[in-house]
Symmetry: C2
Subunit: 249 residues, 2 copies
DNA sequence: TAGTGGTCTAGACCACGTT
DNA sequence: ACGTGGTCTAGACCACTAG
């Protein structure tokens, strides 16, 4: 019933910061969890108990608890109570950014060379990736991206003509396919896969690789509604590119 | 002033679903954005306008708008208004999961072989990664992880003795270093980097690779407070492992 | 039946930016 | 001065789960 420690924690937070009440309540709760005073799976005081102990309206307590739930700190079950969530930093994340943005963010110059742009029948693999019948007409583009004139990405892309009928008429030295496609077909979902591969002779030549150095291959598919808009293979020289991510619990 | 389209949208959503009001308001707004009726950077009706048009309390409208803001759909500026956020799915994410969990999730059997476990002086690189003086004593472990007896990860890990003094006494065939370390030193932050590399002879031997196939290398550092707890190199055979991620806008 | 969280309201005061 | 979003309250009704 009495939660002197929590009340003390809160009043401590109350006094020093001029933050909104719901923020201070959140801070106090996170502190209880971080210090271990409230362990995972443990039930924490109910909304009405906090209202009584802290002298704050229930809506304010509710907002604090709701936000902490959506942030992964708490689990709530109607009719049961509120519990400390299990610390699960098991699935951390890596950013996958647009190549042109990434180069610009480094303060470098992006340029590209259009190697191929045509309509042709889909191979079996391509048809499967795009969700169209094998042999059906698709658009294909092959572009090398440079960072300060050094090749950093080989973009091998298939496009569903239904989603972007004017794809072949674009100037892909001025606009990247990714940007164009998001303009004509607002993307709603996507997936990507990363693996390490050895480039073949044609790929080595296009990227200007002399030895057989390993490359990162990102295979990305993008949807607009139920329709696959595009399927791309992005090949990066291992020595010139890294994926990076950081996280905070 | 009059927003017949929006009001119509909302009443449509209102009628069919028995969802909470704030949810229906959110859906209606998202629909306005998805269909392009409300374009990026465009100002949308104010809270009080929505209250008048939709006959809903301001707190309910406020909750809908607040949640959509935290979900990235909207931008709000006090004293100015609420605006449609720019669609920026530029930085998509890849999951990086714990190897044991990942194998278990596939319904396969995880096992591991402890190749090395010792205390030794830090090399220059290791010292830098851990944030300790070069030559200072650290713990080192080298473990091969198997999925159904096929090697899928080589885990080369340095540990800060300050953070985990009993590291050498653990049985790492029963508990993975990652799990042990999160137990003794609650992690608060981390970073990782992924690149494609060619494995050396020792690495090939430990992973049971015959040819010189490319590998994914994940370098991960983990903090507990201001202290680096551990720095690990995780090496995956390219043919046996892929990172995967999917996203929805 | 009693307690929990989930939602909603009508009204209020405030800080902020524009005019 | 005015309209904006940011916050807070006191009270209410409901759905759900447990004993």
């Amino acid at each position: 019933m009495a939660e002197p420690q929590f009340a003390a924690q809160l009043s401590a937070v109350m006094s020093d910061t001029p933050a909104p009440i719901y923020q201070r309540v959140k801070q106090a709760i996170v502190r209880q969890i971080r210090t271990g005073a409230w362990a995972p799976h443990q039930r924490i005081p109910s909304e009405s108990e906090m209202v009584a102990e802290l002298g704050v309206s229930r809506m304010t307590i509710n907002r604090a608890l709701r936000e902490l739930t959506s942030e992964g700190y708490l689990l709530r079950m109607q009719g049961v109570g509120t519990f400390v969530a299990e610390m699960k930093p098991q699935t951390e994340m890596l950013e996958v950014r647009n190549i042109a943005d990434e180069i610009a963010a480094r303060g470098h110059r992006h340029s590209s060379r259009l190697v191929n742009l045509q309509a042709r029948p889909a191979t079996a693999d391509e048809a499967q990736a795009l969700g169209i019948p094998p042999g059906q007409r698709l658009f294909h583009s092959l572009i090398v991206h440079y960072e300060n004139d050094v090749a950093v990405q080989l973009e091998d892309r298939c496009v569903n003509p239904i989603a972007a009928p004017d794809y072949l008429q674009q100037d892909f030295t001025r606009i990247t396919p990714y940007i164009y496609l998001t303009q004509v077909a607002p993307l709603t979902a996507g997936e990507h896969r990363v693996e390490a591969v050895a480039p073949n002779a044609a790929q080595r030549s296009l990227l200007g690789l002399t030895d057989n150095e390993p490359c990162l291959l990102i295979h990305r598919r993008t949807w607009s509604g139920r329709q696959v808009v595009t399927s791309a293979h992005l090949l990066y020289p291992g020595s010139r590119y890294q994926l990076f991510g950081s996280f905070t619990v």
